[in-house]
């Protein structure tokens, strides 16, 4: 644990910023994934499905950039972490990439053509493409917090020494089920907030049902994390309990039909979960599973001070600007959408004369 003492302020700032970027990604794309998974569950008719996808239409791509920024920031600020993690978690990341490719194209292309076969095929891509990342990011974070087998190369580099199947341990799989169910709940709450009519009613009901399941998974997962993998950190009990409180609040607000509050509380739940997990992880960024062998820490995985300084200035200037214009997008598209707003649902936007 001696490495912890060497951590400088900039490294700490960037560890926190990586947590912020993943929070942004989970809060924003979390509901995208949730809506995608619920597409065939809530969207029974073509109009309903199109209305659901339209709630995401102007937003999903901007939301996904949070992942790209998190990846880029990981590369820039913690190259050793990025290199070991991405090469070590190769196959899960491959699945996530394939899912995101299919899903992104599906969202953009689905409604451009009138054929129902065409649309059913893209529906599969949307559901699977939303399901896999929602599950696999939880599995990945579970493994990061739990620690993995790490070995030192002759040149001194620390690389992943386990296999693909080592990543599928019960704790990490529970992490996957936690993110999956949390994202579905978050997506249902988002849908209830952004729609009216039949979609709103079903979304509200499903949020309450899946929410209970998510609560059970999340509580067991965070307790297990705190008791087994917290590296002696105790302050993380605070965000854990706060997160639990927010989630209860989200479910109550959902029950009362206060959708704005429900969405805010569910977003805060995800934020608290990320804070708790990153807090437990510290001072590591990728611990060794035995907590004895070689490990990557905030101190030994980071970039040079010069690079971190430049990146800090860039992040301090740009992040508030990004937050402002993304918030503005959400304001522009604040209006609720319902199945009855979709004109000529069976038609494709490339088949219409005016689109």
């Amino acid at each position: 644990m001696s490495q912890a003492t060497d951590v400088n302020t900039l490294q700490l700032v960037w560890f926190a910023l990586i947590a912020v970027l993943f929070t942004g990604y989970f809060v924003l794309e979390g509901f995208d994934y949730g809506v995608g998974i619920l597409l065939p569950v809530i969207g029974k008719t073509e109009s309903e499905r199109r209305a659901m996808i339209t709630t995401l239409g102007p937003l999903w791509d901007g939301n996904e950039v949070w992942l790209l920024t998190a990846g880029g920031a990981l590369f820039a600020a913690f190259p050793e972490w990025y290199a070991t993690l991405f090469s070590g978690f190769y196959l899960p990341l491959l699945l996530i990439l394939l899912a995101l490719i299919g899903r992104g194209v599906a969202l953009e292309y689905r409604s451009k053509h009138a054929s129902l076969t065409w649309r059913r095929n893209w529906d599969y891509a949307i559901v699977i493409g939303s399901f896999l990342p929602a599950l696999l990011w939880g599995v990945a974070f579970g493994n990061i917090v739990r620690g993995v087998t790490l070995v030192t190369q002759p040149a001194g580099n620390i690389i992943y020494g386990g296999s693909f199947f080592d990543l599928l341990n019960p704790y990490a799989l529970l992490g996957g089920l936690t993110t999956l169910t949390l994202f579905v709940t978050h997506g249902a709450v988002f849908l209830a907030l952004k729609t009216h009519g039949t979609i709103r009613v079903s979304a509200n009901k499903i949020a309450g049902q899946i929410g209970i399941v998510a609560a059970v998974f999340a509580v067991v997962f965070l307790l297990w994390s705190q008791l087994s993998y917290a590296n002696g950190t105790t302050w993380t009990w605070a965000p854990t309990l706060l997160g639990a409180g927010f989630f209860v609040g989200a479910l109550i607000a959902n029950r009362l039909g206060r959708e704005g509050w429900a969405f805010l509380a569910s977003a805060l739940t995800l934020g608290m979960a990320v804070i708790a997990l990153f807090g437990m992880l510290y001072p590591y960024v990728l611990p060794n599973i035995d907590r004895v062998g070689p490990a990557l820490t905030v101190a030994n995985a980071s970039s040079s001070e010069y690079t971190l300084k430049i990146m800090t200035v860039v992040a301090l200037i740009l992040t508030p600007i990004v937050l402002m214009y993304q918030a503005w997008t959400y304001w522009v598209f604040r209006k609720r959408i319902g199945a009855e707003d979709i004109v000529d649902a069976e038609k494709g936007s490339l088949d219409e004369i005016y689109s």
């Binding site: 199109r50 996808i53 239409g57 102007p58 791509d61 901007g62 996904e64 950039v65 992942l67 790209l68 920024t69 990846g71 880029g72 920031a73 990981l74 590369f75 820039a76 190259p79 050793e80 990025y82 290199a83 991405f86 090469s87 190769y90 990341l93 491959l94 990439l97 394939l98 995101l100 490719i101 194209v105 969202l107 953009e108 409604s111 451009k112 053509h113 190369q153 580099n157 690389i159 970039s303 040079s304 010069y306 690079t307 430049i310 990146m311 860039v314 740009l318 990004v322 214009y325 993304q326 997008t329 522009v332 707003d341 979709i342 004109v343 936007s349 490339l350 004369i353 005016y354 689109s355």
Partner: protein, 470 residues
């Protein structure tokens, strides 16, 4: 095949594929913004019709660029983790800034542009497409600055303590001549492709009598863009070659298949030789031109690969690399295909302007046939340009600093890379078919003709049905 070779194939396939969509995005975003501005200024329906039409093609294209771009960022870590460790301190920063500055701008404002026709005031809606275009351009700059570091590393020092290259002058990385010339060359090539695409599609529709007013305008607009961009591509390409003769002489010697150091070196336009140095590479040659292209002097000395090989064996003995020559036929032919195909695209621009002079509408069968082919010529020219510049840099991943073999992920086996290589190739193949099908459908449908006089009418009014939905 080893994990190294497979990772190289995967990087090559996914990058060439990704870069089919990138130049069209880079150029077409500005052209669509230009069309919408023309409509904003003049109120003429033909500009609105053209904005909607090319906007659709642009959106079908960019969806593919966006999703295949995620792979690019991830595979440095997945397949090239030792490279990522070695240069992450330098290479990561432009990538992160690209995402934070450019990708957010592009994706957020594009979302607003697509869905914002009836939600925003006219002027603000116009601003969103310009901001999205600016995002695409900024993204090109940062990724090219990162790539230029691999071609010609600057602004760093080697830290023996942790065995990696560390940044000490970010300004140098962003402003070195390699990066600036690469940016101008890539961006102008993107406009060349987009201009040719616009001209080709417009010519096809015009000759079928579809939306004649709009298509005649966009045909001429595309042609002018193609010609101007073609000139900038040529000038910047010449500059780039001169810089590369200094910074990466081996790459340029391979491009010309020059084995022995000589003066007054001719430029080989075509060859029937084997390119292995056993036969002369001159079948059709212009005397002294290579010397001139390298330095501006027809008599100048140009280093040959054999001499460079001997010199590098001494300079870079510590790297363990024994063969410093890239694949010569690949370098030689990709270089010529780049120039030839790009040049043909520009010639079509001139032909198109001539064929539409003084209100004429082209009628030649050959013009129509060319129009169908011409958008692909500069697009493939760009692919060959990247194949040349990346294959020509071999055996280096970062020139002079790290061999490609040293950059590959040590813990990732051949079976794993086979899995991803096959998965990406299959998925990309299917999506290519789908994408082309959708674009052809859009072209067949043609530009909208019965547009409402003011698509913004009623903007801000609540409770009107959506004019656009997914």
């Amino acid at each position: 095949m080893s994990a190294l070779d497979l990772s190289r194939w995967q990087f090559g396939i996914t990058t060439v594929y990704h870069f089919f969509f990138v130049p069209i995005t880079l150029g077409l975003s500005w052209l669509v913004a230009g069309l919408q501005t023309a409509w904003y200024r003049t109120g003429k329906e033909k500009y609105l019709s053209a904005t909607k039409f090319f906007g659709k093609i642009f959106l079908i294209n960019i969806a593919m660029g966006v999703v295949t771009g995620i792979v690019q960022e991830f595979q440095f870590g997945m397949n090239w983790s030792d490279y990522s460790r070695f240069v992450g301190d330098i290479f990561g920063a432009p990538l992160a800034i690209e995402a934070l500055l450019a990708f957010f701008l592009e994706s957020t404002f594009l979302g607003i542009w697509i869905f914002g026709w009836d939600r925003l005031p006219k002027k603000i809606h116009l601003a969103t497409i310009w901001l999205a275009s600016l995002g695409t351009m900024l993204s090109a700059y940062f990724i090219l600055a990162a790539n230029s570091f691999m071609q010609h590393p600057v602004g760093y020092s080697f830290n023996p303590e942790n065995n990696r290259a560390e940044l000490n002058d970010f300004g140098a990385v962003l402003t070195q001549n390699t990066a600036i010339v690469a940016f101008v060359h890539t961006l102008s090539a993107a406009f060349l492709v987009s201009g040719a695409l616009m001209a080709g599609i417009s010519a096809f529709l015009l000759m079928r009598g579809r939306a004649v007013d709009a298509m005649r305008t966009t045909l001429r607009m595309g042609a002018v863009v193609t010609i101007v961009a073609g000139l900038v591509v040529a000038v910047s390409g010449d500059q780039d070659a001169k810089i590369m003769f200094q910074q990466q002489p081996m790459k340029m010697a391979a491009a010309e298949a020059i084995y022995e150091t000589e003066s007054n070196v001719p430029f080989s336009i075509l060859t029937v030789g084997t390119l292995d140095g056993s036969t002369a590479n001159c079948w059709l040659c212009i005397p002294g031109l290579t010397s001139y292209l390298a330095t501006g002097d027809f008599g100048a000395t140009v280093y040959g690969m054999n001499n460079l090989q001997a010199q590098y064996e001494q300079d870079y003995a510590a790297t363990g690399i024994t063969d410093f020559k890239p694949n010569v036929p690949v370098a030689y032919w990709s270089f010529r295909l780049m120039i030839g195909l790009g040049g043909l695209g520009t010639l079509f621009g001139i032909w198109a302007l001539w064929a539409t002079r003084r209100r004429r509408i082209p009628s030649s069968k050959w013009f129509l046939r060319s129009a169908a082919v011409v958008p692909f010529l500069p697009l493939f020219a760009i692919s060959f340009g990247w194949i040349f510049t990346e294959m020509g840099r071999q055996p280096w991943i970062v020139f002079g600093l790290m061999g490609t073999q040293a950059g590959v992920s040590p813990g990732v086996g051949a079976g794993t890379v086979w899995t991803s290589l096959i998965a990406f190739t299959l998925l990309y193949g299917v999506l290519a078919v789908v994408e082309v099908k959708l674009i052809l459908r859009t072209i067949k449908q043609g530009p909208p003709t019965n547009l409402p006089a003011d698509p913004y009418a009623g903007a801000g009014t609540e409770d009107r049905p959506l004019t656009f939905s997914y």
